[in-house]
Symmetry: C2
Subunit: 261 residues, 2 copies
């Protein structure tokens, strides 16, 4: 197998379909990765409305209509097999972490493909901003905040944020660079003061791993695609299937497709 | 009554609620007007998905959830009475043009409030670009094009555009000014060649009125909020209620709320 960074999306999906299971960070550099969330059509209006009202944490890259298993973002692929690992929820409770969801599939499932901040990390690196969690070899730290999202029907919950420590001299660069990617969370929602977001201890993230924050670095917070999963679970749909954390769908869209001038 | 341009939105809605019937062009200058479309929840997912896939013709300003009759865009108002005139469709056919829809209301109706290009006309005028249909005292001309929208479930149809003739020396200004209002259709979708859009005769619009095009003026086309109404009618929902053409909802949002840098 060639280096993970240079594998094309269709080849990556084929490898996962054939049974490979590993996190997708660093795979297929230059191509957008997506959060995946499949729920019954009966609940899909509320989720789409939640996303419309909360575009920063819930940027929609694409939607597969009821029963559809493929689409232009995964040409020739199958959403039931092409994600390395899934999480299955019944009535809001996790019941399984399979590598294939063919056995759980229902013809009324609508699949949301939601932007992921991994997409702007390459641009940050290209701009000279180092990514602590990549350097430290861990998952990005994520935190529930005290900021409620705008509710929609049965969907409600707090905004979840990801955090990257940035040297004070580069905070403006990090804001400027990520602002140009509004479809993948865009500019930070907060800079510098975790207490104001209701985060008591940066060393204890709610999801992902803690990272070391060096002297002179400022914690910078971006809206996170975990937000809609948390809101959906709160509404306890009979069935919901998401990707397992860090195991994203690798799409055919290029990171640059989401760049604005 | 004070001049229509200086009436506040809540006062305008109260006048319409009390029975006044007239087009809203020129009312409450500086406040955004909205296309209105109420359909049963069962059809609302498809329409919201259609809007998500076609943001230029279908910019969502707000959505009232099933049965809701008021919201932040019409504080203290009632969507069943505060639009000057409505159009009621059964199975896609027009059946009534009432000034109050209380008798048609159902608790499963979801109401879409969709951006209207009237919002950027003030900005064009402030930028020195005259609006032909205002100068000529007629409704804006609108045309079905040969450009299909991205379909969503049962919703499909061509993009509908509005046309404003602009002096060649001001086309760049018109593009620049309207680009800054992406939530109300934004930049033009086409400049200069109606044949390419499948429009055979500018003198015979599909909706609204024809305008005179002076020598040296270029026809400029913007995506139009009539597009989703046409797509909804094609799907023939059992009930759909829209505003009557030119008789919009006057919202509490300011035009400037939709301005981007």
């Amino acid at each position: 197998m060639t280096s993970r960074a240079s594998i094309l999306p269709a080849e990556a999906r084929e490898a996962f379909r054939a049974g490979l299971v590993e996190p997708t960070s660093g795979w297929s550099r230059g191509y957008a990765q997506a959060n995946v969330l499949s729920i019954p059509r009966e609940h899909a209006f509320d989720l789409l409305l939640f996303a419309q009202r909360n575009p920063k944490p819930c940027p929609i890259l694409g939607i597969l209509e009821p029963g559809q298993t493929t689409g232009p973002l995964l040409a020739g692929g199958d959403i039931r097999t092409d994600v390395p690992k899934y999480t299955v929820y019944r009535d809001g409770e996790k019941v399984d972490e399979p590598t294939d969801i063919t056995g759980y599939w229902q013809d009324d499932l609508v699949t949301f493909l939601i932007g992921c901040s991994f997409t702007f990390e390459s641009a940050l690196q290209d701009g000279g901003v180092r990514i602590a969690h990549i350097d430290q070899g861990v998952n990005v730290p994520m935190y529930r905040t005290n900021r409620p999202c705008a509710p929609a029907g049965a969907m409600a919950g707090p905004m979840v944020v990801s955090m990257r420590p940035v040297p004070a001299s580069q905070v403006a660069d990090a804001v400027r660079i990520t602002s140009r990617y509004p479809a993948v969370h865009g500019a930070p929602v907060h800079v510098g003061n975790p207490e104001e977001l209701g985060i008591a201890d940066l060393g204890r993230p709610d999801f992902g791993d803690a990272v070391e924050i060096a002297a002179g670095q400022i914690p910078v917070f971006w809206a996170c695609g975990v937000t809609p999963q948390a809101a959906v679970m709160q509404s306890r749909p009979p069935l919901a299937i998401g990707h397992a954390p860090g195991h994203m769908l690798i799409t055919d869209a290029r990171d640059s497709d989401y760049l604005v001038p």
